[in-house]
């Protein structure tokens, strides 16, 4: 099971600290949501994810990706991701094309209806995060498009965990609608608590228990947390040199050994 975290400067902890605490909490991996900063003048340098430490060396191009050293130290998988956030179609669309080749997971943060629609109609997008954020929404049209294009929809538990009163009620209503659509149309989904510091990390069992209280099944929550890992594995396989097409890869079968045996 994986958790998708916001590293410094977006959040208040570095990827290494998240990895340390997540490993202690029983996660198998961490997805580090780098920010694309579309709305801040397209900083291309952010594509490598949040390098929190002051000029440390663990962000080099190790074979295991930018977070190879962190993964080795804490014994869990660390996945680099970029979360594209923008308010209009053209900037988000540009960022998707720009970051897709550079990152393992490409997430699009939900915005208005236009951005949500764009995200679920792009096969290149892996996850639409927080689809109910702001004035955006989610409906049966988007649900079908997400299913057809294999775009995962995120169940965001952050408001249930960290807000109360009216905001939480609103968030629970949004989750209920999203759950209805996801179940009805068999949309692939992920689950995340959207932690912004290592203190906001909650272990899988806690999230499953919370999910049961608010109407999910514990297995659904675990599935959603595990889906991050499956996505990362799929994308890594696809971007590896031996990959040709789904089900076709360059292997060690090219030589003909029959004569030599």
């Amino acid at each position: 099971m994986y958790e998708a975290v916001h590293p410094y400067p977006d959040g208040r902890s570095t990827p290494a600290r998240y990895a340390r605490e997540a490993a202690r909490g029983g996660f198998e991996g961490v997805v580090v949501r780098g920010r694309s900063a579309v709305d801040e003048g397209c900083g291309a340098g952010r594509a490598d994810g949040g390098d929190g430490g002051g000029g440390d060396g663990d962000n080099g191009d190790t074979p295991a990706g930018p977070f190879g050293a962190v993964a080795d130290r804490y014994g869990l998988d660390v996945v680099d991701a970029v979360e594209v956030s923008g308010d209009d179609r053209s900037s988000v669309s540009g960022a998707i094309g720009n970051y897709r080749p550079k990152t393992t997971l490409l997430l699009v943060r939900g915005g208005d209806d236009d951005v949500n629609r764009l995200a679920v109609e792009q096969v290149q997008v892996d996850v639409l995060t927080r689809p109910m954020r702001g004035d955006g929404g989610f409906n049966h049209v988007l649900a079908k498009a997400a299913r057809d294009n294999g775009v995962r929809v995120e169940f965001d538990l952050s408001s249930v965990l960290r807000r109360d009163g009216g905001h939480r009620v609103q968030a629970l209503q949004d989750l209920r609608l999203l759950r209805k659509l996801v179940t009805k149309f068999d949309v692939p989904y992920v689950v995340s608590a959207n932690p912004r510091s290592h203190l906001q990390l909650r272990a899988p069992r806690e999230l499953a228990a919370l999910g049961e209280v608010v109407g999910f099944e514990a297995a659904e929550i675990r599935e959603g947390l595990a889906e991050w890992g499956r996505l990362a594995a799929r994308n890594r396989e696809r971007s590896s040199d031996s990959f040709i097409a789904p089900g076709v890869q360059r292997g060690r079968y090219e030589e003909d050994h029959r004569g030599t045996r």
Binding site: R12, A16, R17, G53, G55, D56, D58, G165, S197, E212
Partner: protein, 159 residues
């Protein structure tokens, strides 16, 4: 009043809970109990919190790391976990909460899951974000003090 025969007494489960904070925060048993009641009441309502009957037992620790035992009625461990997960801050200080394990007696709970001596703590200065900053060290984790609050880092960030 004569106490109940054993087969009629309540059965409890004891959750070993670890609470982490930024190093400048200080939290007490009473404050944590209050937040736990609020969290349970907000999440599962009066009925659910009465069923779970969450009580904070011994509370130890300091300097950013605390341990405690939370009692819940048997069969209500799920809602108890959920309520604990919803504790975001105690008295305004953000906290991280993790359930280390669940036992049937306080003693088993303490022996199995608690009392892990906190690692060496200290202070040092680190280069972070282009400046020299003071940091609180615990094991291989560092909480770096920035003008706008702490940032959680790890030893690996400075190697």
């Amino acid at each position: 009043m004569k106490h109940l025969p054993k087969h009629l007494t309540e059965r409890w489960r004891y959750l070993a809970v670890e609470i982490t904070t930024w190093p400048d925060a200080s939290i007490s048993r009473g404050a944590f109990q209050r937040e736990l009641w609020f969290a349970a009441q907000n999440l599962v309502g009066d009925v659910g919190s009465a069923d779970a009957d969450l009580t904070v037992f011994d509370f130890e620790g300091g300097a950013g790391e605390y341990e405690t035992v939370v009692r819940a009625r048997r069969g209500e461990v799920g809602p108890a976990r959920a309520a604990l997960a919803c504790i975001d801050a105690v008295g305004g200080d953000p906290v991280g909460v993790r359930v280390r394990g669940v036992s049937g007696t306080v003693r088993a709970c303490e022996e199995r899951y608690l009392g892990r001596a906190a690692g060496a703590t200290g202070q040092r200065h680190v280069a972070f974000d282009g400046a020299d900053r003071p940091a609180h060290v615990r094991d291989d984790s560092l909480d770096v003090s920035l003008p706008d609050g702490y940032v959680g880092a790890a030893e690996l960030d400075f190697e």
